[in-house]
């Protein structure tokens, strides 16, 4: 009995002291939460976002921070899993007391976290989740990247401009991203009079696409729409080459890192895709961003989500400065809604659905895998 009393007394003391210490630490920084996929097969996107956001925070702090206080960004890794995303969110909001969230990065994870964010009504800006329904009826969730349906429509229009009349599609009906793009693309093709001559699907996590590609080759399309991420696209391009399937490939923003995953870079000249940013963009803000990024990280911001991540930080910090000094969630949200800033990926304002109003960059590659800017497709 006595031992139990001593143990519980000690426990109470520890708990009491720790909660006291949390109060004793003065709130002398503005804490923002960062949620992203920082490990696993899709880490390249989360890490790109992280780099862009951190760059802006560093620049902002060098210029004095928000309301005289330094901005501190706390990052949590979701490993690409929705569960981990929700846990990360809880930790950042309840333990760390953040005043706003940047992220998550993947569409599926963002959808899960957005539910909880809306319950708390905390401002959340995702730099890369492109599914339409993420911001529907959610006044507190915003994004600095254009939508899947928007991208797919622009790609279909680009195909029409190029005189393509027959397309094939292969998509992954196990991921939100791929399926959403596929549906929007096929619908726009119907509107524009482009015939979809073959549709194939590949299961999530598969590496062998030769059977599907052989079927597509048999239908002889002028272009194939590939709504995939870079890793799978690299496999498809290589296998198409292997079976002698020569055609043009069209993709969306997730495919941009195919250049890192593919061995035979010459195959990339057949690939055209839509993206959120191009390092060859000629606005002053874009050029400054590219230079600063190069200096800090010793590499180019080749994944466009670095730019949209940077812009998400721009938007959030701009709104927070208007909601200072209390940084109440509602004030920040109202400020984001009224945003009118020049980001590195273009001028950013938000529409009624909390989506940014900006353009798509149509890109391709040269035979060494360097990105080539083709044109801007404006809405």
């Amino acid at each position: 009995m006595k031992k139990r009393a001593v143990v519980s007394l000690v426990l109470a003391l520890i708990l009491g002291l720790s909660s006291m210490s949390a109060v004793v630490l003065a709130e002398d920084t503005v804490k923002i939460g960062g949620i992203g996929v920082l490990s696993g097969p899709y880490a390249v996107y989360g890490l790109a976002v992280q780099k862009g956001v951190n760059l802006y925070i560093e620049e902002l702090n060098a210029a004095g921070g928000i309301d005289g206080k330094k901005v501190e960004i706390l990052w949590e890794d979701t490993r690409g899993e929705a569960n981990d995303g929700v846990l990360a969110f809880s930790k950042l909001v309840e333990n760390d007391g953040v005043v706003g969230i940047i992220g998550p990065v993947l569409t599926g994870v963002t959808r899960a976290v957005a539910e909880y964010a809306t319950d708390e009504n905390i401002p959340m800006i995702t730099p890369s989740a492109t599914a339409y329904d993420i911001t529907t009826d959610r006044a507190n969730v915003f994004r600095t990247c254009f939508l899947d349906p928007f991208q797919a429509v622009q790609i279909a229009r680009y195909a029409k401009d190029e005189g393509i009349t027959k397309v094939g599609v292969i998509y992954d009906n196990g991921t939100e991203y791929s399926k959403g793009l596929y549906e929007a693309f096929v619908q726009e093709c119907a509107n524009l009079g482009i015939e979809v001559v073959a549709t194939e699907s590949a299961a999530y996590g598969d590496v062998d696409f030769k059977s599907q590609l052989t079927n597509l080759k048999n239908a002889a399309p002028e272009a194939v729409f590939l709504p995939y991420y870079g890793a799978e696209a690299a496999l498809m391009l290589t296998q198409s080459n292997d079976i002698g399937f020569e055609t043009r490939f069209l993709g969306a923003d997730g495919i941009a890192d195919v250049v890192d995953a593919i061995g035979n870079k010459a195959l990339l000249t057949n690939m055209t895709y839509s993206d959120h940013f191009s390092t060859q963009a000629d606005s002053q803000k874009a050029k400054d961003f590219v230079a600063a990024f190069q200096e800090k990280y010793n590499e180019e911001p080749s994944v466009s989500f670095s730019a949209t991540g940077y812009d998400a930080a721009v938007v959030l910090c701009d709104a927070l400065s208007k909601a200072a000094p209390e940084f109440k969630y509602e004030d920040t949200i109202a400020a984001i809604k009224a945003t009118d800033v020049e980001g590195v990926s273009g001028k950013i304002t938000f529409d009624d659905h909390n989506d940014p109003i900006k353009s798509a960059f149509i890109m391709t590659f040269d035979e060494n895998g360097n990105k080539l800017f083709v044109k801007m497709q404006n809405p």
Binding site: S39, G40, P41, A43, V44, N173, G174, E200, S201, A202, A203, G205, D206, V207, D208, K210, S211, Q212, T214, N215, N218, A231, A234, L235, T238, Q239, D242, I243, G244, D260, A261, I262, G263, N264, A266
Partner: protein
């Protein structure tokens, strides 16, 4: 008709790779009654070795092939000596758990050393598809099927005709009797592991040529499928592994082409279940009767 033949050839391509890996599983099981779950990860070891040798050291292709095989053999032999040998007299479940442990160790080591970002496989042949009898077949496909077939024939000859092969068959038939006959059991077992891993090494190159993305978990799915192929054909029986691999490859490709890509795995595993229901020892397996 051409389309069907093309799909058939795709199936043979995939099946040949499964068969090569399945041979490793089946030989090891035959000789020490252990399912070496780490075998699929030897594939991954081979792939990363190729990445390092080609991109960092810039070695030419033939040298890389030999070094990849040697590296896989080295890994296999070391794992056998360090992890499996001490447990030979322990209950079988211990070896099984160790095998799973080794598999996880290899995967997580690769994760730590190489990071999870997939890397491109550095070797590729930019050769136009070959036209054989009216069919357009990719060079990699022809290479894979030809090399696998050749290796399987060579393995059969090795096992049937050579002294080492005789020792392997003796040890797998009766461990103690083989020892009494003067066969060095330890050497034979190590030799078996070495052959299995050498095949996996070649398999890793063929796999990398077909699916040129390298990641730490590269070996787990093909490893699992190859294991199932080995069981399908009769675990412990070498021609069984070859047959099982080819059946798996064909079933997978044809299902993806004509039914649905979602169902390809379901069909493959379904075939396994059906075969085992009617022939529990696998397609070519013999019923082991305990003679009292």
């Amino acid at each position: 008709m051409t389309l069907f033949l093309n799909q058939l050839i795709n199936g043979l391509h995939v099946g040949s790779i499964y068969a090569l890996i399945a041979l490793g599983y089946t030989m090891v099981y035959g000789i020490v009654r252990l399912i070496n779950f780490a075998h699929g990860d030897i594939l991954m070891v081979g792939a990363y070795t190729a990445v390092i040798l080609t991109t960092m050291l810039g070695l030419p292709f033939p040298v890389v092939v030999i070094l990849v095989i040697l590296m896989c053999v080295l890994f296999g032999v070391v794992i056998e000596r360090v992890a499996y040998k001490p447990l030979r007299s322990s209950p079988r479940i211990s070896s099984l758990i160790t095998a799973i442990g080794v598999s996880m160790l290899l995967q997580n080591l690769a994760l730590l050393i190489f990071s999870p970002t997939p890397k491109p496989y550095p070797i590729s042949f930019n050769i136009k598809p070959l036209t054989i009898g009216g069919l357009q077949i990719g060079f990699t496909t022809v290479l894979t099927i030809a090399v696998s077939a050749l290796l399987m024939v060579l393995l059969q000859i090795l096992v049937a005709k050579s002294r080492a092969g005789k020792s392997m068959r003796a040890v797998s038939e009766d461990y103690d009797a083989a020892q009494l006959m003067g066969i060095n059991v330890n050497t034979t077992i190590t030799f078996t592991f070495a052959i299995g891993c050498a095949l996996a090494g070649i398999g890793s190159i063929l796999y990398g040529l077909a699916y040129p993305t390298v990641s730490p978990t590269l070996g787990s799915l093909p490893g699992l499928k190859a294991f199932i192929a080995a069981v399908l054909g009769g675990i412990g029986i070498i021609p069984g592994a070859m047959l099982g691999g080819l059946i798996m490859g064909l079933a997978e490709s044809l299902t993806k082409a004509y039914i649905s890509s979602q169902l390809s795995d379901a069909v493959v595993y379904g075939i396994l279940i059906v075969v085992l229901l009617f022939k529990p020892s696998g397609l070519l397996g013999r019923r082991m009767r305990e003679k009292v």
